[in-house]
């Protein structure tokens, strides 16, 4: 198991290397002078020269790449061209809201969706099943901003249970954090509940027809034991996959939700950077997103190995 873990982590290094190369070339291969792109249309030749020297653009390409990677490894992601703040600091400020919302949404979705999916599969073909499936269609088809604005209108403006928008760090107390994270979590959970419930139901339907489920029933085990102890663990692999990729999507930013609830998250940082052509920030965001996906995939594979003893390390 440990050997498997080490091999998988080692295998992630070349992947990240390729990503880094791509991110590096993104700026260099963009048509035109990178310095001109960075400086904008009205830059003077002196300004361009300064930028070139500052970015090392006069060096050969490979020297530029390796010194860039070297700086990355030391936590230097460059400085924002717009705000002149180090990129790492900008990301650090934005990571907590994004991570908080991702974890909350995943937790709520799993707790709601998996029982729903299991029950739907168990009561396959009955009104319960159809009800769960109808809910999941609604969850898929209603846009998140509609759900968001409805929630804000009802629970924040009319009932005044929650603040309308914003984010408060958990370090400043759980109460304020919870108050502000609840509505965005609910809004975003709809689609994930729909997705995970559907996946759970499909996987469970497959597993419930298996011989070992019949064996479990023949042993005289009660239904909850059959469903959760025997069937669910065998149905878990596709469900874990969906949960994992869903989580990665959430961390790399949910622009619409962040906008609706005015959350200072990764998604808006990325969009702002793209609109302003803030290349160092864009590069950092691509690296971050890729890193999250590589990491999540690693976790998914580890989960497979833990869940299914037949998968060899």
């Amino acid at each position: 198991m440990l050997g498997y873990l080490i091999r998988r982590i080692l295998a992630a290094i070349p992947v990240m290397g390729v990503v880094a190369l791509f991110v590096f070339l993104l700026l260099r291969l963009t048509p035109g002078d990178p310095a001109a792109i960075i400086a904008g249309d009205n830059a003077t030749p002196e300004q361009l020269d300064r930028i070139r020297t500052q970015l090392g653009l006069n060096e050969p390409l490979y020297t530029q790449f390796f010194s860039w990677v070297w700086r990355l490894l030391h936590g230097d992601f460059g400085t924002s061209l717009i705000s002149n703040v180090p990129v790492l600091q900008m990301v650090n400020q934005r990571i907590e809201p994004s991570l908080s919302i991702a974890l909350c949404v995943m937790l709520v979705s799993i707790l709601v969706a998996i029982p729903l999916g299991v029950i739907a599969a168990w009561k396959h073909g009955t009104w319960i099943d159809r009800f769960v499936m109808a809910l999941s269609v609604i969850g898929f088809s209603v846009p998140v901003f509609v759900i968001g604005y409805v929630l804000v209108q009802v629970f924040a403006i009319e009932l005044r249970w929650f603040p309308v928008q914003g984010f408060r760090s958990i370090s400043r107390g759980f109460g304020p954090f919870f108050e502000r994270i609840t509505l965005p979590t609910i809004a975003l959970s709809f689609v994930y509940v729909a997705l995970i419930a559907r996946m759970t139901r499909a996987a469970m339907l497959g597993v419930l027809g298996e011989d070992y489920v019949r064996t479990a029933r023949a042993k005289g085990i009660n239904e909850s034991g059959v469903l959760f102890r025997h069937a669910l663990r065998n149905a878990a692999v596709p469900v874990i996959t969906v949960i994992g990729t869903g989580f990665a999507l959430l961390i790399s930013g949910v622009v619409v939700t962040e906008s609706v609830f005015n959350l200072p998250g990764i998604g808006r940082l990325t969009v702002d950077a793209v609109l302003a052509r803030d290349f160092p920030v864009i590069q950092a965001m691509i690296l971050l997103t890729s890193g999250v996906y590589v990491g999540v995939n690693l976790l998914i594979d580890l989960a497979y190995a833990l869940l299914d003893p037949r998968i060899r390390y």
Partner: protein, 561 residues
Amino acid sequence: MSELVNPTVNTRPIALEIENLVVGVGKSGAGKKIIDGISLQVRQGETLCVVGESGSGKSVTSLSTMGLLPRDSLKAIGGSIKLVGEDVLQASDRRLRQLRATTMAMIFQEPMTALNPVVPVGKQIDEVLRTHTSLGASARRARILDMMEQVRLPDVKRIFASYPHRLSGGQRQRIMIAMALVLEPKLLIADEPTTALDVTTQAQILKLIRDLQKDHGTAVLFITHDMGVVADIADRVAVMRHGRLVETGALKDVLSAPTQDYTRNLLSSVPSLVPRAAREEAGFNPVVLEANELGKVYRERSMFGKPREVHAAQDVTLTLRKGRTLGIVGESGSGKSTVARCIVRLIDPTSGGIRLAGREISDLSRHALQPHRKKIQIVFQDPYRSLNPRITIGESICEGPINFGTKHSVAMARARELLELVGLPPDAVSRYPHQFSGGQRQRIAIARALALDPEVLVADEAVSALDVSVQAQVLRLLDDIQTRLGIAILFITHDLRVAAQICDDVAVMQHGRVVEQGPAAEVLANPQQPYTRQLLDAAPGRGWDFANFRAVDGSTTVPAA
């Protein structure tokens, strides 16, 4: 054997009594009757074999008893099933759960899939004790290990903690038996428990069930389609067909003096272990297929250390002449299918040669091999999966010839002829596979293989998934096609009875090697190698000549209770 059964068995208490059971299709059971008025009884210490072909309702009967019928598709709508006097059809779900494993237990056909793959087997047995007893952890463990020893598992402590995929089929079935018997139920239902196992393992499991039955006085309801197994394990036999009981009686009476035509036909369809009369020696017929020291090695790459090598086939040398049938027999893992697949070049051999119609084909590239493909065609085991469900029968049969340049209309006309040749109506060309039964699909698969006018037909367990009566028909069809077309057949099978009836020559394989080879009449009647002898000894029902309704002298493998 029945004649040896202790006569007191008839006075023992009744463990299971099924009276007038009716099971219908649909949630309310109002649809077609799958079981229509079955009555059976099994006494303690007695084995009742329920025998019948697929669709006879034998498994539905056992699932009804356990209360395990799929709720939304089948329902018992009449009669009673009394388990030690208590009607399980009237029992609540809760009561049924209490009865399962404690009073009645069941083992299933597929040991490979009947155990949960993600839970260690010891824990799976433990679940029975945790559900039904209040024993402490160490007492449960001691009891499980003891039971595992009773089912003769080796190294029980290691196996206790093993996952199912680490165990062989036989070991898994032993785990299932241990799980079923750990609480000493009054009734054991065994639904085709040895069908998926090799003959030698089958013989061991049958003996084990017999022995445990003797020790614990369990009543056994044994479901099987295999008359050989019936002859080895039954005290009494119940023959089922289309959901009704055809006849029931003591083993010896049913096998030696069946009163119903259906039973007679069923018994006559069982191929004899005695090889058929040898056909005329065909020494002058041209050799169409030769395998020369064929080998296939699977290498498993490993990051550290040496790669693991598995010799799936080694030094396999075979010769097949026009118009003859060569059988490769052996147990699972013996390499017989590997050899078949190498010969057809579905997989590439790692060493040795294959000469097809005088041309070496083992080293031809995929492209160069193409024109030779039509000379050798294969029929697979499972007719339910070997035909593409979304393509009509006609298109399936035509695909090969069209690929070799035949015009569509010509190929379709040929497909109609071939369907007639295999005994199906020519208008079947426009239908889809799901509209045919298993036997019909296998006929279609044979027609598909014949469409390219091959010189060699490879039949890889081609009749193993079929009921005996259908199996007999397909074997006759193959024989008939061979006589008419002079085709050579390479017949892969694990079933010595089938091999004895269709093969001219036989090669016995074990661990990837041919251990004995020669004319079927010699190899199967007078085996020289211990392994061949062992295989023949393990063949169920050796003591009966089914087709002639008589016992043959010689001992049976399973000692009578």
